[in-house]
Amino acid sequence: MPINYYLFLAIALFSIGVVGVLTRRNAIIIFMCIELMLNAVNLLLVAFSKMHYQQAVAAALPIANPGVEGQLFVFFIMVVAAAEVSVGLAIIVMLYRNIHSVDINFLNRLKH
């Protein structure tokens, strides 16, 4: 499969995530759209890793596991995303407890 298709698929997915962040007001849905963007990047990393694998195999390069770094990078992105979600949702729960809403228009209280 040409790498171009994966590139455009990931770009489209990322843009959908950006539109979601810009148009919704619910903090949880904004958070979910950020997860969507992370997944677009993950998908593209895996596709590029398989592209490098095929290049190295075609050129018969003496590398042990060509392209494996991309997939490990995706693994670490997932690890960081899991940690980020746990802390982020804790912050949202705390905000909800304090201001009884998850509307981001009410989240400008830091300046008062």
């Binding site: 040409p2 810009l22 007001r25 995303a81 940690a83 729960v93 705390m94």
Partner: protein, 166 residues
């Protein structure tokens, strides 16, 4: 057109459609369900690329753990109704237009790259298998792997500390 190419198109349409439904559903619970569908379709893409380990981890970590966390939080706050006041029409339009402009810029910048002739190998290749990734993870990348456990510990402590009452 071979069966793997057909699967690629079906999965791509599924990914984009469910991602659009995540953004457009009014009910947050529906958004979460559509996001789970998106993650399953992305896992299908990983399987198509023979990245089996990542496909399974994607389902277990994202669709299993993270989405359950989201659902718990949404139901804890009793948000499972269409209570979100819509953002101003012009702001929504501006957001959609700027997202579309980003899409346009990225596509037009990248449509003539020299990568165009490169292929991404479907079905075959052994680098996505658990054996290869595990050997690589516990030899070359063992320090980042151990550091990620510290990251998890600090995230756990942080979540408990922030979520505590008062």
């Amino acid at each position: 057109m071979s069966i793997s190419h057909l699967l690629f198109w079906i999965l791509s349409v599924a990914v984009l459609f469910s991602a659009l439904m995540v953004v457009t559903s009014r009910n947050p619970v529906h958004s979460v369900i559509w996001l789970i569908v998106t993650f399953f379709a992305i896992s299908g893409h990983y399987i198509l690329l023979n990245a089996q380990f990542l496909a399974i981890v994607n389902i277990i970590v994202y669709a299993g753990a993270i989405m359950v966390l989201f659902l718990f939080v949404i139901m804890l706050m009793n948000l499972n109704k269409e209570s979100e006041p819509a953002r101003h029409k012009w702001l929504q339009l501006a957001g959609a237009v700027s997202g579309g402009a980003l899409l346009l810029v990225l596509v037009s910048a990248l449509k003539n790259t020299e990568l165009k002739s490169q292929q991404s190998l479907l079905i075959e290749g052994h680098i996505g298998l658990i054996k290869t990734l595990g050997q690589e993870l516990f030899s070359t990348y063992v320090i980042p792997f151990e550091l990620s456990s510290i990251l998890f510990l600090s995230a756990m402590v942080g979540a408990v500390l922030i979520g505590k009452k008062d």
